[in-house]
Symmetry: D2
């Protein structure tokens, strides 16, 4: 990690406990990411961006996640959106130019709104109920989306919806967050990533200009490809590995500073804590080496999925071991460790979940033999 990222991690971390407590949108953290230019780090070179690759993106998310995973997750969605546009330009050029102009001036957050109450996760198949009705000037959008990360601070919602046309099409409608008809919920009250605000968003007759639509296609193509999501999800795992490193630092701090009266020296000097530290480091560094290597080598999707499953297991185990080894002090809400512990519980919730990933990997392995 460069010195620069180390400093950003530290700056973000200063605010993390407070946002965790209140569950408010982590504006201070997002401002730090913006000022460091990281929200647009993945913007294509042809638009004047740095166009960082997937490996550097993963390192950025690792650093942000170590500081505050809520900030990292919100930032990730914007980073991924720009990266997708760099890879395969699908946005109307004029609209994208507006977004970039605004991004230069202020934190401009973008995120998809895909999941629906009746649909379960779209990653598991199905069509959206959210509907775009043709109007004279464009579309009128109505529907409810769930788990819209960072909704309270987004500049644009990228709403996946179906049209009301005879031959139904599906596509992504770009909705300015200040459009009339949008209600952002307050229903994010989770154990971890409390400031990520992945709430419900209701759209009621929201006007969308005709040219604010991305990739309108035949409804049959609407299902999300699990394999395509592998790269994105692998990068998200990097974010949680950052949390793992933050937890490790608390564990080390405890080991170095805790001096039991009957021992007369820090716990870090005991074989037991040395071995615990070894197991924790083993899990975290192994997961990092694996994850970054499959990202760097642009491995096939099943290996990306596999690396994510293994990384999530490793970091969850490592942080759990740290907490259990320390006992009560590690569970105290005055100790950052319990926050990190809560945060890593979300590592496995992003689609595709572990069981889906393993099924995909197994089907592929059996087929190729």
């Amino acid at each position: 990690m460069t010195v620069e990222l180390t400093r950003i991690t530290a700056d973000i971390a200063e605010h993390a406990a407070e946002y965790d407590r209140t569950g408010q949108f982590p504006q201070a953290g997002i401002d730090i990411v913006h000022q460091a230019g990281l929200l647009t780090a993945s913007v294509a070179g042809r638009y004047g961006g740095r166009e960082v690759g997937s490996l550097e993106s993963a390192h950025i998310l690792h650093a942000l996640g170590e500081g505050d995973p809520s900030v990292a997750l919100i930032a990730a969605m914007t980073l991924f959106t720009h990266a997708a546009q760099a890879r395969t330009p699908k946005w109307p050029e004029e609209l994208y130019a507006q977004v970039l102009d605004r991004s230069a001036l202020e934190p401009t957050l973008l995120n998809s709104a895909r999941v629906e109450p009746e649909l379960g996760s779209p990653a598991r198949g199905g069509l959206p109920a959210t509907t775009a009705r043709r109007t004279a000037t464009g579309w009128s959008l109505t529907g409810t989306k769930r788990f819209v990360t960072g909704a309270h601070g987004l500049s644009y919602f990228l709403v996946w919806a179906r049209t009301d046309e005879t031959d139904t099409r599906v596509g992504t409608f770009v909705v300015r967050a200040d459009s009339p008809g949008i209600t952002v919920g307050n229903n994010w009250n989770m154990l971890g990533l409390r400031a990520s605000g992945s709430v419900d968003v209701e759209f009621l007759d929201v006007d969308v200009p005709a040219d604010h639509v991305i990739d309108l296609t035949d409804a049959a193509a609407g299902g999300q490809d699990n394999r395509a999501a592998a790269q994105l999800n692998t990068a998200l795992a990097a974010l949680y590995l950052g949390v793992g490193r933050a937890a490790q630092k608390e564990f080390h701090r405890f080991a170095h500073t805790r001096v039991p009266a009957n021992l007369g020296k820090p716990l870090a000097t005991t074989d037991r804590f040395r071995d615990l530290a070894g197991e924790i480091e083993l899990q975290l560094s192994g997961a990092e080496d694996l994850l970054f290597s499959v990202i760097e080598s642009d491995a096939e999707p099943t290996r990306l999925l596999g690396a994510r499953v293994l990384a999530v297991r490793a970091l969850t185990d490592a942080v759990g071991l740290a907490v259990r080894s320390i006992g009560n002090p590690g569970l105290s809400q005055d100790n950052h460790l319990q926050r990190h512990f809560r945060n890593v519980q979300s590592a496995g919730v992003h689609a595709p979940q572990q069981d889906t990933s393993i099924a995909i990997i197994g089907a592929s392995a059996l087929k190729s033999s």
Copy 2:
């Protein structure tokens, strides 16, 4: 579980989420336990009590724990105190009679105050810094104790202290909670068992009558025997198994009621949820069968310790599996499951911790072969 205990579990459970939220002393839950006569269930027959054995005590704690583990832990301390007196009477008889009289009228909670800041846990050896100074009428007690469970609602503190005599003695000083000079802290802010209030208590020149002392002995005998603690700790594991059952019920509820749109029937009908339910039931019922059998058969201490280690592992794994399998809904603070998940994280913190238990078991096994 009898119908009676089932009802008590349900009554206590109604208040659990609220006490978890506020962290207040769980008076409503304790009142329910008192009204059911369970706080004094272990009082000896010679004092007119029911004198329930260790197996029935464990079943009681399991039921209370399923309702609210904070209530169960506070009640356990009183139950254990009466059970110890039933087994080996050490209290001054007049004082104990007063305690019983009061217990008949209102919830009368007793608990030891042993741990000290500089001592680490006494279970790991060492003498207390808390000192009883000889006075004309008895003793004057000064010192600070940590992790005094239920301190805000106790009637008596049983304070482990040393005397200021030339030949130092150690013993337990029975201190009325309404004595002048006691300051109960508010430093319990934990991930789980939030209403158990295991706070610091300061004693400053607190008067203790001469006959309010239990078992004053030579300081050399002051260290707590890890093995003696095995029975008590095994019973505590039952409490957390109750939490495990509460978590399982939430998992089943989710499986029965969640109907993903693309599945069209409850998750409980899938092989995956059937197998997850199987693993969870396997862990919980196996841990219960093991724990209750070693308690019932009054097994040797190493087997009690071992049963507790295995039970804590099993219930932690089972609840963790339930949470991970459900994903985001299981982590929502609107779902009881995340509360149960937080609560079971405390299962392993009670002394002796797992590493100590395994060292004791291993030393014993190697010696006997």
Copy 3:
């Protein structure tokens, strides 16, 4: 374990390595079991037997298994057959009397022959292809059975077959091992339990007297009930726990006698080996306490199945840990430990296997909530 059983364990153990090497029928071990009267320990009191209960049977199998699990498995089949007859008499009385008379004189081994090549395990459903053709004097039996444990030393095969009648019936045909037309295979060449000889047996036009048939019933009732098998399989787990104890003894022997030059004292004096010994003892004693308690309390089938799954996991883990901790010496074929390691690999193969058990437990748990 009584002194008597301890001696029998030791006597059997003396021959175990040699039978493991050759894979021959373990006659010397079986003779020891016979002379101790253990092959008929479960014969009903009404037939003059000791009629040991399921708990004592499990203790016997544990002791035999510690000596030689091949001997124990062969003996178990005879013990279980007598126990079934004690519980629900189904044998023709005259035939059973003959068996008991012979049992008094010499080792008289009985075992079912159920599995068939085309059937998979009958525990998973289906009807036998082996057919009993009506003859003037009884039946003529033809078919092939697999996994007939101890086939080379059995006195009677209890062959599960269908009749060639218009209304097909299924039942168990009692076939003397010295009947013409029987071919016992030599196709048992396994990693573990090498002397248990669970080979194929071919029956070609084998005459069976009309009164040598047990429980001829409607074919529809032919499927074996997975739940009924729970008790038997739980008892088999005791056998493998015996192997676990034998492995533990080798681990302790190594720890006590191995003195690395750079340590200057036995490995058993190190914290590392103490903790390893603790984990191994924890697993084995926990599994024993659990298994014996569910057997003793005659727990419901799902808890018996669950106890077996947990016991098999625990003993497999414990023996694996012992082997891995010792390194090369533990893998040497001059060390009994590697034999025990090979033997425990068979612990999970007996039907119902783990996945089936967990599915049954899960379905039951979801149903009852």
Copy 4:
């Protein structure tokens, strides 16, 4: 894996079962490796060799290990010896030239002889008892070495010994295998890698020319550096990952060909086997990606050690899962799977073992924080 390596794997595999059965030196396998030029693949370019790097070496060992890990382990020792000379030339040039000349004509195997009975593994510290006595023409070597892999087929022993000089020195004495005074034992009778013949070798007054000595140094420098061994041991893990892949192929073969009568189609079509295949592939591919990436990037020693620990755990778990899932057929000695299962049990025995590695990693992690 290139087509070439795939063919070599297949050729070696043809002989593996037979060598496993007999425990003989695997000459046919070694000849195949020699003919493919792989025994000298790591010879430095300045000597006319291909000088393959550590990543290609690891891929070679992976391929050989998939064919026969005994062949791979023997070949590895020669490969590593040449690689060490390529990195830091320490051999007398004339002697090394002789070795290379011979290597061009016939398989010329080299291996260190370091471990001694009284020393435990030198990796854990200590000086050799084997002594080189000064003679008129060079040295006379006497002592016993253990675990000399491939001893029955070596061309040269590289014997670590002390001198009998007043100021004791230690160094490596290059001994031709056909020198008088060498006795190669037959004491390799292991569960796995049965043809690797890691036997005792006795040296009794064996003449060694004065210029056949490598790196004679002060005795104080005699201890082997655990960290220096990290690279070598990481490469060995690749060998066992090859075994893991061989085991996976058997698992897939079973899944594709086994058609239970009550299922009517191959097991590979079931969700259960798909998920098992997924978990196995996940473990193996994750371990490969991790291991090859740390080798390629020349990671710091603690990360190499860590990658090896994780790879050994993963491959052991994967092969164990394959065996347990198949049940009896997987344990049959007619099935290659049980051979692979036995072979992977040796994956963890090479120094530094897991506990040592974790202690090193933990000490380093605590220090750097």
